[in-house]
């Protein structure tokens, strides 16, 4: 009598990978969900936190007195009123335009705008987001040294 069952071959080519794949997939999904990859914050840098009109104490100078540009910021108009020299603006576009004019003025006077110390003097009730709007306008216009001052 011929035994048919003896001819069947078991194809067991290695360890069972199914549990490994299950675990690895779970780890992968966890890492993808738990990790934070995209930049969810942006930062505006300031090397001079606050001006020295009383509150911040004396500032250090490296021998050269920098050219200054004073900016007054208040809530007299909505959303804010920004005064740079004789000019006023109440929005980002207007403030940027004035800053760009100032940059040109400094360049015409052979002063590098990147060396000019821009000091923003906000009134006490000015909101942080408006403060940073003016701050961004100064940076995007070509100024590099932007800080804050306390109005007396």
């Amino acid at each position: 009598m011929k035994v048919q069952g003896a001819k069947k071959v078991h194809y067991d080519s290695g360890p069972n990978m199914t549990p490994l794949v299950d675990v690895v997939m779970v780890i992968l999904i966890f890492l993808m969900l738990a990790g934070s990859f995209a930049a969810n914050q942006r930062y505006l840098m300031s090397d001079i936190p606050i001006g020295a009109k009383g509150a911040g104490g004396p500032q250090e100078h490296s021998g050269v007195i920098p050219t200054r540009l004073e900016v007054r910021l208040s809530q007299r108009a909505l959303p804010y009123e920004c005064i740079i020299g004789p000019q006023k603006a109440t929005n980002f576009a207007g403030v940027s335009t004035i800053f760009k004019e100032q940059v040109e003025r400094f360049k015409n006077s052979s002063i590098d705008p990147e060396t000019v110390q821009v000091t923003i003097y906000p009134m006490q009730d000015v909101r942080l987001d408006h403060l940073l709007t003016v701050y961004q306008a100064a940076l995007t216009s070509g100024f590099k040294k932007v800080g804050f001052g306390v109005q007396q």
Binding site: V9, Y11, D12, S13, M17, L20, V21, V24, M25, I27, L28, L31, M32, A34, G35, S36, F37, A39, N40, Q41, R42, Y43, L44, M45, S46, D47, I48, P49, I50, A55, G56, G57, Q75, L78, P79, N91, F92, A93, P122, M123, Q124, D125, V126, R127, L128, D129, H130, L131, L132, T133, Y135, Q136, A137, L139, T140, F148, V150
Partner: protein, 177 residues
């Protein structure tokens, strides 16, 4: 003549080897890149301003984040930061008049000779202030930073591609209820 046929191909299932190769590469990538369990002390309940312009400083290891909000029922700032392993209040002056915030900033900036911690000239303070925070509350924090010799300050904001006045709420800062 006996005819030879091709051997029968027998597969036990789908070949998962390439899949495991790829998945292992992805796992290693995510493990290296993802920051899990690492906190910089951000208080995510604060609505920070939107920033059109700015840079990404996350790779910088010398950051110290201050969460600045307005104190309940007052106009002063409430400063919270990750200090001694937990997010806690760092008052500008506590009940005994000790300048807690200034002391902590000075510790990070100037180091501690007794503990052998050297000064850190690259130390940066990150201010995560709520967008409606009035300057009257922010100014004392900036003054403390200056007093602690921290000259490098960064303001944190949400990245946006809109120009500032397209995203700003125009409500003036006033006392909260």
């Amino acid at each position: 003549m006996k005819r030879h046929s091709m051997p029968e191909v027998k597969e036990g299932g789908v070949n998962v080897t390439p899949l495991i190769d790829v998945v292992m590469c992805l796992i290693i990538f995510f493990m290296l890149v993802a920051k899990i369990g690492v906190t910089s002390g951000d208080d995510n309940s604060i609505t920070i301003p939107s920033l059109y312009y700015g840079q990404d400083l996350r790779a910088n290891a010398n950051l110290f984040t201050l969460n600045v909000t307005r104190a309940l029922g007052g106009s002063e700032a409430r400063v919270q930061a990750l200090w001694q392993g937990k997010l806690q209040d760092l008052p500008i002056a506590d009940e005994k008049g000790v300048p807690m915030l200034r002391n902590v900033l000075t510790y990070f900036r100037n180091g501690d000779k007794e503990k052998g911690i050297p000064p850190n000239a690259d130390f940066k303070v990150v201010i995560r202030g709520e967008e409606a925070l009035p300057f009257s509350a922010l100014a004392p924090v900036l003054v403390e930073c200056t007093a602690a010799n921290c000259k490098s300050i960064a303001f944190a904001g949400k990245p946006t591609t809109n120009l500032p006045d397209e995203t700003n709420d125009s409500t003036p800062a006033g006392p909260t209820n």
